[in-house]
C-alpha cells in the first residue's frame, strides 16, 4: 500500500538522520490572543525574509523537503509571501499552520492557493462563535475563519482543521465535525493540553472531562471512523523523530531538535553547514542531538512500557522536560491521554462494564497519532 511505502521512506530518513521536515516558527506575533498558546516570546530581533531563505537553503542541503511555516501566526510575518514562495521555487513541499483569519481576504486566499500548498492546518476551537472566540480572545475570529474556509474550499486548497478538546468545546465535537464536512475539510481532535514553552501550566485549567473524551472515542470506533489499538511499546525502537527527521527554527533563529525540545543547537545565522552539524561531521558533534536521540530511543522502554496505558499515551519527552525537568517523567496529560483511550478500548471490546458506550466487536489496528 502507498502509505506503507511512504512509511518505509520515513524509516530510511530516520536511520539516515535526515531532517526531512523543517518547521519554521516565522514569528511569535499573532493576530489572536489564544488563552492556551504555548509560545513564549522574547525581547529579541526576529529573522527577516532574507534570513529565513538562507535558513531554508541550509535545511534543504541537510535533506529537508517538507517545510512547515508556523508561528505565532506565520501570515503576519512581513515576508511571509516571499518565504512561502521560496519554499515552492525550490521544489519543496509547503504546509502552513495558521489561524486562517487573514485568508478571509479573497485576494490573500487566492495568492495563497496559487502557491499550491500541500496542506493547511487551521485551528478550530468550537462549532459556535461564542466558544471559538472565547478561546481565541478575539470577537469575530470565528466568522472570519468560516469566510476563509469558504474561499479555500472554492480554490481547492486542502484544509486540515485541528481542534484541541477543552472543557469549553467538549460537548460540541459532532457539530465541529459537521462544520468541517461543510467545507470539505478533515478535522483532527487533539486531546493534549500542554504547558507553554517556558513551563507555564495555566493552560491545564481548560482540560476536558475524561468521561466525555472516553465516550467520544468509543462513538468514533463504533461508527467505524477510527480504530483504537495500543502501540507495541515493548517493541518500538523509538518514540519520535526528535533530532533526526525534524528540525525546528524559532523566530530568533535558534535551532531545535523538534518543536517541543527547547534545547538550542545554536543559531542558524551562525551555523554554516547544518548538515555537518546534524550528521556530526567535521568536528561538529552536538551533545544536544546525541542526548535527544538517545531519549527518543529510550522512552518506549523506560516511560511507556511499564504503564498499562502506555501503548495509548501521547507522550512527548520535550514536554516532559519542560513541565517536570526530566524527559522521561510521565506527566499528567500523558497519563490522562493514555487512560482515556485505554478505557475506551476496553469499552469497545466489552472488557469494562463500568466504561462508557456499549460493548461492540471491532478490529484491532495500529493507532495513528491524535484522534
Amino acid at each position: 500500500m502507498a502509505a506503507n511505502k511512504i512509511a518505509e521512506l520515513m524509516d530510511r530518513a530516520y536511520a539516515e538522520r535526515r531532517p526531512v521536515t523543517a518547521q519554521f516558527e516565522l514569528t511569535y506575533k499573532c493576530n489572536l490572543l489564544c488563552s492556551f498558546c504555548y509560545n513564549a516570546p522574547k525581547e529579541r530581533r526576529e529573522l527577516d525574509g532574507d534570513d529565513w531563505i538562507e535558513a531554508l537553503d541550509k535545511c534543504r542541503a541537510a535533506g529537508s523537503y517538507n517545510v512547515i511555516l508556523t508561528g505565532g501566526e506565520p501570515m503576519v510575518h512581513r515576508d511571509f509571501w516571499r518565504i512561502a514562495g521560496a519554499v515552492r521555487e525550490r521544489g519543496m513541499v509547503l504546509k502552513t499552520y495558521t489561524n486562517g483569519v487573514l485568508l478571509a481576504d479573497p485576494e490573500k486566499a487566492r495568492r495563497y492557493a496559487d502557491l499550491a500548498p500541500f496542506d493547511t492546518e487551521i485551528s478550530l476551537h468550537g462549532a459556535r462563535a461564542e466558544v471559538h472566540d472565547r478561546l481565541t480572545g478575539i470577537r469575530g475570529s470565528f466568522d472570519k475563519l468560516l469566510v476563509a474556509l469558504g474561499h479555500l474550499a472554492k480554490l481547492g486548497v486542502k484544509v486540515s482543521l485541528k481542534t484541541p478538546i477543552t472543557r469549553l468545546n467538549q460537548h460540541e465535537l459532532p457539530q465541529i465535525e459537521a462544520l468541517a464536512a461543510r467545507f470539505g475539510a478533515s478535522v483532527t481532535f487533539d486531546t493534549n493540553i500542554l504547558p507553554t514553552d517556558d513551563g507555564d501550566t495555566s493552560p491545564f485549567s481548560l482540560a476536558a472531562d475524561p468521561d466525555v473524551l472516553a465516550r467520544f472515542f468509543v462513538e468514533k470506533v463504533r461508527r467505524g471512523e477510527r480504530t483504537l489499538a495500543p502501540r507495541p511499546v515493548d517493541k518500538m525502537k523509538h518514540n519520535c523523530g526528535t533530532g533526526r527527521t525534524v528540525v525546528t527554527i524559532d523566530p530568533y533563529g535558534e535551532v531545535y531538535p523538534c518543536i517541543a525540545f527547547r534545547r538550542s543547537l545554536g543559531n542558524i545565522r551562525e551555523i554554516d553547514d547544518l548538515d555537518a552539524l546534524w550528521q556530526g561531521r567535521d568536528g561538529m558533534r552536538s551533545d544536544v542531538l546525541d542526548y535527544v536521540r538517545t531519549v527518543a530511543d529510550e522512552v518506549p522502554r523506560r516511560t511507556l512500557a511499564p504503564r498499562e496505558e502506555g501503548g495509548f499515551a501521547s507522550f512527548c519527552p520535550g514536554v516532559a522536560e519542560r513541565e517536570l525537568g526530566d524527559p522521561y517523567a510521565y506527566y499528567d496529560a500523558a497519563r490522562a491521554s493514555g487512560l482515556v483511550k485505554l478505557r475506551a478500548y476496553r469499552a469497545v471490546r466489552g472488557e469494562d462494564s463500568a466504561a462508557p458506550g456499549d460493548a461492540v466487536e471491532n478490529e484491532v489496528a495500529p493507532e495513528s497519532g491524535t484522534a
Binding site: A2, K5, A13, Y65, M92, V93, D119, K158
Partner: protein, 104 residues
C-alpha cells in the same frame, strides 16, 4: 498496479513536469508530491530517473537513450516501452503533461 495502456510509442513526444509537483530522492527511490491532488507516491528507481529527465525539451526517445547509457541489461526497445508506460502513469497522476501541437 495494473500497467497503464500504452499503444505504439511515439518517440518524438515531449513531456514537461507540472510546475507544482515536488520530487525528492531517497536513494534510488523518489517521493512524488502533487499538491493540488493531495497526492504522495513513492516512485521506483526507474520512474524517479524518468521524471528527473523530463524537462520540457527531451523527447521520449531521448529519455530512453539516456537510460540506456545509464543502465546495463535492458535493451533500448525495452527501456523505450518502460519509459512510455511510466510517462502515461505519471500523466495520470498529474505529474507530467505533454507539450507541443501533436500532444493529445
Amino acid at each position: 498496479m495494473t500497467p497503464p495502456e500504452v499503444g505504439p510509442v511515439d518517440q518524438a513526444l515531449v513531456y514537461r513536469r507540472h510546475p507544482e509537483i515536488t520530487l525528492t530522492r531517497f536513494g534510488e527511490e523518489g517521493l512524488l508530491v502533487v499538491p493540488r491532488a493531495a497526492l504522495q507516491a513513492v516512485l521506483n528507481g526507474t520512474a524517479t530517473r524518468v521524471l528527473e529527465l523530463v524537462d520540457g525539451a527531451r523527447t521520449v526517445g531521448e529519455i530512453a537513450d539516456a537510460l540506456a547509457a545509464e543502465y546495463d541489461g535492458p535493451s533500448r526497445d525495452e527501456l523505450l516501452r518502460d519509459v512510455a508506460e511510466i510517462l502515461v502513469d505519471l500523466r495520470g497522476r498529474g505529474a507530467v503533461e505533454p507539450v507541443g501541437a501533436d500532444a493529445d
